[in-house]
Each structure stands twice: as structure tokens, then as C-alpha cells.
């Protein structure tokens, strides 16, 4: 694997890792923008805009875009996270240049009003779809409850009201302020010629004008509020819990990832033995969401409603006991083994490597080789984990749940 980096004069970063043994190649545009950069008035615009980029440019219609990607045999899509919007495509090496060219053009979309009106329906359907996926819905509402007025409390898709009220000119304004070249990173992985692709990206993106596109990154420990909603169409209890933890930029993020595995991995964790092995809950998991300047642990539990109070008693017992019943060396080692093998498996595929590389660059502005990632996981000690538990007591959490009437 060979790392490559070039920064264009307008601030656009191109980072790449070349693997001549790979069967495929992947390219992604990471825009450092998402719901946390929105106001309440335009909530949902980041995600809606992500859809609109596929609607083409002044020279390409939506169907031209879809047809060209399909002609190239690309596996392509986009994702709007809370604070990064990622556009990506994996393809056979010989097609990568054409795929990259297409993405470069799409990053300067036409945002036609006719397309905007049709796509608004699709967004409203997507909102309705997630309302029928209670675990997703709980995560979004729990996040809003935990972060309250902090920018990270925004609902990713927006609300029915905010989407209905959104105008295409508001979207254009948001686009102009956030999609500046200095706020975008192009990431390329797999089997390709760096200089050739780079020249092609530079010829298409080199004229973009830089613009200030900052973000406030205040730390926030969360509201620790607890709410429950009854819904008549539900059969199970769906619980979401959010605890504050370290940000992505904090070196302790590795310890936080391991602690989440120890407490809430799908097998062999404390949640697993106390809740799932005993059939008190159907599923119980925890993961670390380390973000820009803030971070949370998110726990998701689904159970028969008759077990609701028992589930919460056990969760509170697990959280409180962490300070007394310390994490064992064996628990830490098992968590490390799981994380290390996940790193190996994920990074064997150019598409998997693309996400790692891009996220590291966007959050840290640095390249971390796989060996470096592995070493950082290995370096975490029991003392690191214990310090984290003491600094962020898990008993202090926000809770949102929904269940049957």
C-alpha cells in the first residue's frame, strides 16, 4: 500500500492509498458538512442536497447520471452522516477515471426546481419509511433529546414540516456555503494510477473558489433526560441510551471503542451475558460514536415490554458496577481481538479502506496506515479504560424509549 496526497491551490485535498493487488478501486468525495451545520429552519437540507446531487448538472440530466454510472458498472451511493456527507463509488480499475470525472461534475449540481419538487416527495417517503423502523427512529429522537440545542441534536432527515417548507434557493445558499473545495476531501483507494486520476480531478475541480466553511465544535455532556412514548402500532419495547464520551480527535477514542465492545458487543459482552443470554432482551448492543469535538456511547435494546423494568435495572447495575467490578485483562483482550480482526477484514476491500482513510483525513487531517491503527488498538491499557470510566461515569445517560400502549 502506498500513500499519496496532493492539495490543490484552492484547498481541495486528494488523499489516496494505492494497492496494485486489488481487483477494484474506489473513489469518494467527503464533504465536511451535515445536519449539525444546519439551522432549525433548513433542517434536513444536507440529506436532501445529497439526493439532489444525483439529479445532474447544467449539462447532465438525472437519467444521464444514473445511466453513466451504470454504463461504468459502478457500485455507487451517498450517505449523509451527522457531520459528513460522503459520495462514493467502487468500480473495476479501468473505469475509475471516468467514475471520478462524473463525481467531479456532480459536485457542481444544477439544483433544478422541477427535480427539487419531485425529490421532495422521495424525501418525505424516506421519512415515512424510517418511522416504520422503530430502532432507527429511537436513535434519532434519543440523539435530539441528548443534545437538545447543541448542533448535534439535529434530526438527520429533517422533519416533515422542515422539508415541506424548504425552498430550492435555501438549498442553493447552503450548498454555496458548505461545498467549498477547502471543505471537501477526495479519497481514492485500490488499484489505480494516482498521477493520472489526480490530473483529471485537478482539471475539473481546480477552478472551484475556496470559501470559509467553519463549524463550532463545543463539547456537550448531554441533557441526561429520560422520556418514553407509547405507540399503538408497536409490539416490543425499543430503548435508546446515550452517554457522553470522547471525540474522534481524542486519542482515547480507541479506548472508548474497546469499552463499548466490552459492554455491548453482540456476543460475549456484559450486555450479552446479562440481557441476551438470559433472554431478558432480544438484542442489546452498545457502540461508540466519536464525532467532531464531541462523542457518545449509544446503546440500543429491544425487548418484550413485560421485561422493560427488569432490562433497565440490569443496565443501571452494569453501568454502576463498572467502577467496582473493574474490566478484566481477559475482557480487554477479547475486545481487542474483535476490533483487530474487523480492521483486517474491512480494509481488505478498497471500498472499506476508502471510508477509514476518508474519515481519518476529515477529522484528523492525517493519514494512518493500517499498521498504525492496529498498534493504537494494541496500545490501549486497562488503566486507559478505567480512566475513561471514571471520567465519563456511564450511570449518567439520556434515555428515550418507545413501546406499545
Amino acid at each position: 500500500m502506498e500513500f499519496k496526497h496532493k492539495k490543490l491551490a484552492n484547498g481541495l485535498n486528494i488523499v489516496a492509498e494505492v494497492n496494485k493487488d486489488a481487483q477494484s478501486a474506489a473513489v469518494g468525495f467527503f464533504a465536511k458538512t451535515g445536519p449539525r451545520d444546519e439551522t432549525d429552519e433548513i433542517n434536513g437540507v444536507s440529506h436532501f442536497l445529497e439526493h439532489m446531487l444525483f439529479k445532474g448538472t447544467d449539462k447532465l440530466s438525472a437519467h444521464d447520471v444514473n445511466r453513466t454510472f451504470d454504463d461504468l458498472g459502478a457500485f455507487y451511493n451517498a450517505e449523509t452522516g451527522d457531520e459528513t456527507t460522503i459520495y462514493y463509488a467502487a468500480t473495476l480499475p479501468k473505469q475509475l477515471e471516468e467514475v471520478a470525472k462524473l463525481w467531479c461534475q456532480l459536485m457542481r449540481p444544477a439544483l433544478r426546481n422541477d427535480d427539487f419538487i419531485i425529490e421532495k416527495n422521495v424525501i418525505l417517503e424516506e421519512i415515512a419509511m424510517y418511522q416504520d423502523l422503530p430502532d432507527y427512529d429511537v436513535h434519532e429522537i434519543c440523539k435530539a433529546l441528548h443534545f437538545s440545542d447543541h448542533p448535534c441534536g439535529k434530526i438527520a432527515l429533517g422533519t416533515v414540516e422542515s422539508i415541506k417548507a424548504l425552498t430550492s434557493s435555501q438549498m442553493r445558499e447552503y450548498f454555496e456555503s458548505r461545498y467549498a473545495p477547502n471543505n471537501i476531501t477526495v479519497v481514492i483507494t485500490g488499484n489505480f494510477e494516482f498521477e493520472k486520476i489526480c490530473a483529471c480531478i485537478e482539471s475539473l475541480c481546480g477552478s472551484w473558489k475556496p470559501k470559509q466553511a467553519g463549524r463550532k465544535t463545543e463539547y456537550f455532556a448531554g441533557t441526561a433526560k429520560r422520556e418514553h412514548q407509547k405507540r399503538k402500532n408497536l409490539n416490543c419495547l425499543h430503548i435508546g441510551l446515550m452517554n457522553p464520551t470522547v471525540s474522534y480527535q481524542d486519542e482515547r477514542a480507541y479506548a472508548a471503542t474497546l469499552l463499548a465492545k466490552i459492554i455491548g458487543d453482540s456476543t460475549g459482552s456484559r450486555f450479552f451475558w446479562e440481557l441476551v443470554d438470559t433472554a431478558i432482551a432480544e438484542t442489546a448492543s452498545m457502540h461508540c460514536e466519536a464525532m467532531d469535538g464531541v462523542g457518545v456511547f449509544y446503546s440500543s435494546i429491544r425487548a418484550d415490554r413485560k421485561n422493560g423494568s427488569k432490562v433497565m435495572q440490569i443496565v443501571e447495575k452494569i453501568f454502576k458496577s463498572l467502577q467496582k467490578e473493574k474490566i478484566s485483562a481477559d475482557e480487554l483482550q477479547k475486545a481487542k481481538n474483535k476490533v483487530l480482526s474487523a480492521i483486517t477484514i474491512k480494509n481488505e476491500i478498497p471500498m472499506g479502506r476508502l471510508l477509514e482513510l476518508g474519515v481519518n483525513w476529515v477529522y484528523l487531517g492525517q493519514y494512518r496506515p493500517i499498521e498504525d491503527e492496529i498498534q493504537r488498538v494494541k496500545n490501549v491499557t486497562l488503566a486507559d479504560i478505567q480512566n475513561l470510566i471514571e471520567q465519563f461515569p456511564l450511570a449518567n445517560f439520556t434515555q428515550f424509549s418507545i413501546g406499545p400502549e
Binding site: Q23, A90, M129, Q131, F272, D277, A279, Q333, I345
Partner: protein
């Protein structure tokens, strides 16, 4: 690099398949064990869902906790699932740990503890899984669609039935395990970094002592395709539509696969264009090929709000019916490139390769090389696809909706 898939059979019938993947440090494996949802006696639906969990609750000399600790100690990413004919057990891990993992899985498959006190937990989890499905109407739509489309018991809901799960005992479920967990018909596929000779020696040592069982016949009963609505006070109407297709044995298999790609391959395909891009009716719409050994179908899903449900359904049916019309050469080429390119990209994942090899062997009695699949896709033409569609027109549909309102089916 030319591929070299190795296949070795033990004297008891168990099949070992090795698929090397260049340049990787991981290995992945999958066991296909003939204890699927269709194999259980009437009144015992859901037994495989219980068994899938129960076998991990202690095996050989290891307790449930001891076994779990050892699997986690290897950094294993495990998966398991119930299919129509099989329980699949899969895992991916760093290649160095592969022999130790296979030894643990031999205990899980051959010597599970199956303790009655652990049975109750497994049963409760299966019951909660079934309850959880009620809160996931999209997933439930597709399970119901297969149940109504395929002759019974081939399409049975793999999560089981509530009454049957409540009636099952440890004794009865243990008996179903003993009768069905047949090593003689088990397929074991490994992909990634491994040594095939060592793999065979180890598998021989661990599994060769197990006697094969008598293969079971299933008498599947045809059922009329129709429309089935399940009321649900959700935000959307979840629509499932399934119609017949040829199985992988059939000479027209590749014509069918390319036809489905024209209908719903990439975002320029017909369903996505007509339903989402032109009309904005849905966020999620698509169709895919699904096959059992005996029978296959093309299943479509769309989720939409009630006021758009009928139009969505009508547009999807219309697209099925006009699939043979006006297929252009460029449309065909896009479908082919999409399928071939997906094939190469999936081939980089050791987990996907192991799963595909095991399924291929079960379906066809051989493992197709990537080159063979690519060439067969390449051989299809507008004429061959149109001929196939004219000879096998989509006339009968099985439709399922879950949501606040019914639609009027064809």
C-alpha cells in the same frame, strides 16, 4: 490469476470446498447444515431458529460461557441464519486462527450440550425475534411473500410460528436436531488464505467419524398465488410482489438474471426510473432474483404512503409486464456490466466468496468460476432475453401488503 477452487468429499458425504483469494490475510467459512425451516415436522415451525441459538450454549467439554470466550478470543466475526433447507453457520477471522475456529465449530455441530435449562432461553429469544418482526413491517413483508409464493413448506417463515414455538419442548427440539443435523449432507466452504491439504486433514480428523443420515423427502404442496393484506397502523404501505422465474439449473438462468438487472439493476433500471425518478412515489423500490433448489422467483418490494400505494403497485406490475418490450442494446450492456462488475467486487470479500461457493455447490453440485459466470452473462443477447420473457411471461403474481390500507391487486 486463474482461480482454483478445490473440492474434497469425506467418506460420509460431507463436502469441503476451498476458494483461494489472493492478497488477503483473512479467511472466512460457511457450514450449510440441512436443518432448514422446510425440514421440520408440522407443528414445529421455528425449531431451527431455536437450534441455531441452542447449539452455541456449550459444546464438547466447554460451557456456554467457555465456548463464547474461546470464539471471541479468536476475534471471530460470526453469523448464522435459518434458510428453507439449511441452517448456515459462518465466520470471518484472521487466517492464522482458522484451524482453532474449525475445531470449535466441530464441537458446536457434533457435540452441542443442548441442555434443557438453556433450551428455555433459546426458545424465549426465538419468540422475541418473532415479536420483533411485528415491528419491522418491511422485513415481515418479504418473509410473508416467500411463505405465500413458494409451495408449503418450502417458503415457511424462518422465524417460526408463535404457537409452535410455545409448544416446542427441549426433548422434541433435541429430536429434530438429531434427525436433521446430517454431516453427510453438510457443505463446508472456506475462502481466503488457507492451506487446502491441511484444511482437509483437519476436517477429516474432526468430522469423518460421524455417520450420514437418510436424506429426507419433502412433499411440497402448491398453493394458489393471491393477494394477502395484513393491517398495520404504520406510516407506509409495504408492498411485496413475487412472480415465477427459472432456477439456476435452467438453460435460461442467465437470461433471467440479466432480465432482472434490466428491471432493477442500477439506478438507471426501469423500476427505479419509473417509480422513483419520474413519479417520486417511493424512497425504497427494487426487485431481486430469489431461488430455492426446486423453484425460483423475482421478488419486488416498495414502501410508500397510503395515498400512493395503488399507483406504486400498478406501476410495478406494468413494468413487469412490459419487460420484454423495447429492450435496447445499451440497456442490455448496462445490465451485463453491472452484474459482471458486482461479481468482481464481491469476489474481494472472503465472506461473500465462502457463502457463494457453499450455495453454488448445494444448488448445482459444483462451484462456478467467476470466469464461467462472466462468460454466461456475456452470451445473453436482446433476442435471447426477449425469447425467454415471451416464453415465460409474467402472468401470475403473489402480492402481500402490510400497512394501514389495502390495494386492489391484478
Amino acid at each position: 490469476m486463474p482461480e482454483k477452487t478445490d473440492i474434497y468429499k469425506l467418506a460420509n458425504g460431507m463436502t469441503i470446498i476451498g476458494v483461494p483469494v489472493a492478497g488477503v490475510q483473512s479467511a472466512a467459512f460457511e457450514f450449510l447444515i440441512p436443518t432448514g425451516a422446510a425440514m421440520t415436522p408440522d407443528g414445529c415451525c421455528g425449531a431451527p431458529a431455536i437450534i441455531e441459538d441452542w447449539i452455541f450454549r456449550g459444546a464438547g467439554t466447554k460451557t456456554s460461557r467457555g465456548l463464547s470466550d474461546m470464539l471471541d478470543g479468536l476475534g471471530l466475526h460470526r453469523g448464522s441464519g435459518v434458510e428453507s433447507k439449511h441452517i448456515n453457520l459462518s465466520a470471518a477471522l484472521q487466517a492464522d486462527n482458522l484451524p482453532k475456529a474449525i475445531e470449535l465449530y466441530a464441537d458446536i455441530i457434533l457435540k452441542p450440550a443442548l441442555k434443557p435449562e438453556q433450551f428455555e432461553y433459546s426458545r424465549q429469544l426465538a419468540l422475541q425475534g418473532l415479536l420483533g418482526l411485528e415491528d419491522d413491517p418491511r422485513h415481515k413483508t418479504m418473509l410473508l411473500l416467500r411463505e405465500h409464493f413458494y409451495p408449503d413448506p418450502l417458503g415457511r417463515n424462518t422465524a417460526g410460528k408463535q404457537q409452535d414455538l410455545q409448544n416446542l419442548t427441549a426433548e422434541k427440539t433435541g429430536q429434530i436436531f438429531a434427525e436433521n443435523f446430517d454431516i453427510g449432507q453438510t457443505i463446508f466452504a472456506v475462502a481466503g488464505k488457507y492451506d487446502f491439504q491441511k484444511l482437509c486433514s483437519l476436517t477429516e480428523k474432526l468430522f469423518a467419524g460421524e455417520k450420514p443420515k437418510k436424506a429426507k423427502d419433502i412433499n411440497a404442496k402448491e398453493q394458489p398465488l393471491g393477494y394477502h393484506h395484513h393491517p398495520h397502523e404504520g406510516s407506509q404501505v409495504h408492498i411485496g410482489i413475487m412472480t415465477g422465474a427459472v432456477t439456476p439449473h435452467d438453460n435460461d438462468y442467465y437470461n433471467a438474471r440479466v432480465a432482472v438487472a434490466i428491471l432493477s439493476g442500477g439506478m438507471s433500471s426501469r423500476l427505479f426510473t419509473e417509480v422513483r425518478e419520474k413519479r417520486g412515489l417511493c424512497y425504497a423500490v427494487g426487485a431481486g432474483y430469489h431461488s430455492l433448489k426446486e423453484m425460483a422467483g423475482i421478488g419486488s418490494y416498495a414502501g410508500t404512503t397510503p395515498d400512493k400505494a395503488q399507483e406504486t403497485y400498478d406501476v410495478i406490475i406494468a413494468e413487469f409486464k412490459r419487460l420484454a418490450d423495447d429492450i435496447s442494446e445499451s440497456e442490455l450492456q448496462r445490465a451485463k456490466i453491472g452484474l459482471q462488475s458486482a461479481l468482481v467486487m464481491q469476489s474481494e470479500s472472503t465472506m461473500a466468496r465462502a457463502g457463494a461457493a457453499a450455495t453454488d455447490y448445494y444448488m448445482l453440485g459444483k462451484v462456478r468460476s467467476l470466469e464461467e459466470i462472466k462468460q454466461n452473462i456475456e452470451k445473453t443477447s436482446v433476442k435471447s432475453i426477449v425469447d425467454f420473457l415471451k416464453n415465460n411471461p409474467f402472468e401470475k403474481f403473489c402480492s402481500v401488503t402490510i400497512g394501514p390500507m389495502e390495494i386492489k391487486p391484478v
